[in-house]
Symmetry: C2
């Protein structure tokens, strides 16, 4: 049975619901959606390598997580309920100092496993030792845009090292020639990267025609410090450095004012909303989704790393986003369920420059099947509402990326080994840190 | 295999984690925890009717949902993303007007199924045609405190009818003589029940020595209207009516001021936090958990009905509570994971006057097993943190209530029929409402 997983083959997916209609889907050997409609199973019964019984499941484009630090899955639950600065300086950084290549590999494997299980087929990651993340993503079968977290701490010497590390990762990813893995530049944030570092990142990304992944306006302190130092708020400051482009994903964006939202819209930036992380760390303000959407920006959704969420479930994140927008901006009609789903799929795909995020003929077969034979999807008055407000990622039963089956009826080959190895890596990491 | 479900029998649960230790648990034929510790499996191997392999799962007291309208599961996803008043008057009330006894039965069956699946063993419900809810709870095997939603709309005639309906339900529940089902009085809220109605409820509940289930300070309007009408805020007004007692569960409590929290503490009230519902309906303020806890009230947790959440997953609700408290009150150390778990279990049990909510010898065997062989529980640095921030109810694999097995390794007998019947009831309900 394992030989049907993670390979190219033509597939008929029979009896699924797409936009309220019961249809079949044909996936070509090249991993493209070849047909959607009634009777497709009969047209392709002869030439399909495999037939999957959808059993009335809802078929959706696979979700796209636009802000993660995947390997931090090893730090899940290591420290919580603390003040941000204490949490970082007393817990997270001391542990991160002991991370090995093996940890990055197993942490990213665990993250990919969790994403596949909860219906995510692509993610936008920023961390370090990213060659190990490449290996994990390659094996897992999902898509990723990977960036080295560029942190020069305003030192010219360190900046040179960060530039070389960035170039090396981009070169490495190009050499893999894996259509599922792309490179981005990852200037961490305005408070960790010098203006020269930011400008270099912007120019290098433009030359290489690759994305930019940055944290923006997560806390109020970031804004007040920026105004004090540069005489302007973070978004116009980043714009001066050339960072705001249609290839840019800006995570958090909690403290943007209306003019900054207009600027992000004008530049075609994709702001990644990370509501669970923002709530847990008490950022005290929610990303102004309505201003960003009205300004023509491309609001998308991300979970952040497992140290500050603490999971990678994009269904849960879509619910939290829809609830937080309503609550913070005091309007129960804000971010209705269909828009929250769009953030988690189509907008995320657009942010990463992927032609996925929708179910239509000719699109890559990045799709998931969500069970309807579960309490959270019963009754089924409104699909979008159930998916966002009622179901979690646990309702996903099948995940397909680039035409390859990664999970079928909740089975993922190799899961037990990944869980065991990741758990062991995490235990060893804590031991090393405590011994130091 | 089905004959091991929903019956009294002695059970050894081998290899589970309790408070960080690996132990076995012995459940007596009477549904009581008879032993917890290492080697218990050997002591009781001879006299146990059944041995369950816990396989390293975390054993927890079953969760207690202190505010639901269970039968509203049939309305899940029927209407969302609307202004409260439009949502009620255009969508919810017109549909509720067509609910039949069969709908209440299948809606409550569906709710119980979802609760069992997500680790909840007891709930506090307010709705109507509650004799049907009794039947559903009796069959499902979980515990419930059931109240008739007393709404007199300030009419003396209607008040008489509501008093009789309340008395009838209490009499009916007494006649069932089911230790898992208890009655409460359910004055809906200060804006739907007259002062005389509230006083009658308080006196009747005291006479009968049963609980009171009421909505309190959900919206700011409730507070301003109350002050305008009665010259005082809702909590002191309810206190004048005798409603605030150690047997009282007050749902929502979003807009309590500090003096009201002190009053609730003094009276020993259990405020039920319902964060998902509050966020979705944009109440614009979060229950002041820290004031209530400091005042000695018994803060507990509830999901509210499926029309405004839209699920009954208490693990998800515990996470939302922990995140919302931090975010709204702007302090990342508020409501840490262990306290959120306590709200969802021990405090909930106390609110309902149950001797459950803890795992110790002599307590009723209301317990759940949460898998550790899943990504959300890997690694396991901190159990409480994983349970609250990472796992949803989908990580629950076994649910035991009053010593009876309700779910074993995710299998619940009769699930398919309940899903099918509830879905059909919901479809018919919408048809009837549309035809009217």
């Amino acid at each position: 049975m394992d030989d049907i997983f993670n390979r190219q083959q033509s597939i008929v997916i029979a009896d699924v619901q797409v936009d309220g209609r019961t249809v079949d889907i044909f996936v070509t050997e090249d991993g493209i959606i070849g047909a959607i409609g009634e009777g497709v199973r009969n047209d392709h019964r002869g030439d399909a390598d495999l037939i999957i019984d959808g059993n009335g499941a809802v078929a959706l484009p696979g979700l796209v997580n636009t802000h993660t630090h995947a390997a931090m899955s090893l730090l899940r639950g290591y420290a919580d309920d603390m003040i941000l600065q204490d949490w970082l300086s007393q817990k997270i950084w001391p542990l991160e100092a002991h991370l090995t290549k093996g940890d990055i590999y197993w942490g990213t494997k665990l993250a990919c496993l969790e994403m596949i299980r909860t219906g995510t087929v692509a993610f936008n990651d920023m961390y370090f030792m990213m060659e190990e993340a490449c290996r994990a993503v390659d094996e897992a079968g999902i898509r990723a845009t990977l960036s080295y977290g560029f942190i020069d701490l305003f030192s010219a010497e360190k900046r040179e090292a960060e530039c070389r590390a960035t170039e090396n990762l981009v070169r490495h990813i190009r050499s893999l020639n894996n259509p599922r893995i792309t490179a981005a530049v990852g200037p961490h944030a305005i408070y960790t990267v010098s203006p020269d570092g930011l400008k270099w990142c912007a120019e290098y990304a433009a030359e290489e025609k690759i994305g930019i992944h940055i944290h923006l306006s997560e806390t109020e302190k970031e804004v007040t410090d920026c105004v004090a130092q540069h005489g302007k708020r973070p978004a116009p400051y980043l714009d001066d450095c050339g960072i705001l482009t249609p290839r840019t994903i800006a995570a958090h964006c909690c403290w943007l004012d209306e003019a900054e939202c207009t600027l992000l819209g004008k530049r075609g930036v994709s702001p990644s909303h990370n509501p669970s992380s923002n709530m847990k760390l008490a950022t005290n303000r929610a990303m102004p989704y309505h201003w960003l959407a009205a300004a023509g920006a491309n609001p998308c959704l991300g979970t952040d790393g497992c140290a500050s969420n603490n999971n990678l479930d994009m269904f849960e994140e879509a619910k939290t986003a829809a609830l937080l927008q309503k609550f913070f901006w005091n309007n129960p009609t804000l971010l209705p369920a269909p828009e929250a789903l769009t953030m988690a799929s189509k907008n995320g795909a657009k942010a990463l420059g992927l032609s996925t995020g929708r179910l239509c003929i000719g699109a890559p077969a990045d799709l998931i099947l969500v069970s309807t034979n579960v309490p959270c999807n019963t009754p089924l008055h409104n699909t979008a509402s159930n998916l966002v407000y009622s179901c979690s990622g646990s309702a996903v039963e099948t995940t397909i990326c680039n035409g390859a089956i990664l999970m079928l009826e909740r089975e993922i080959p190799g899961e037990a080994e990944i869980l065991a190895q990741a758990a062991e890596a995490a235990r060893d990491l804590v031991k090393r840190a405590q011994a130091a």
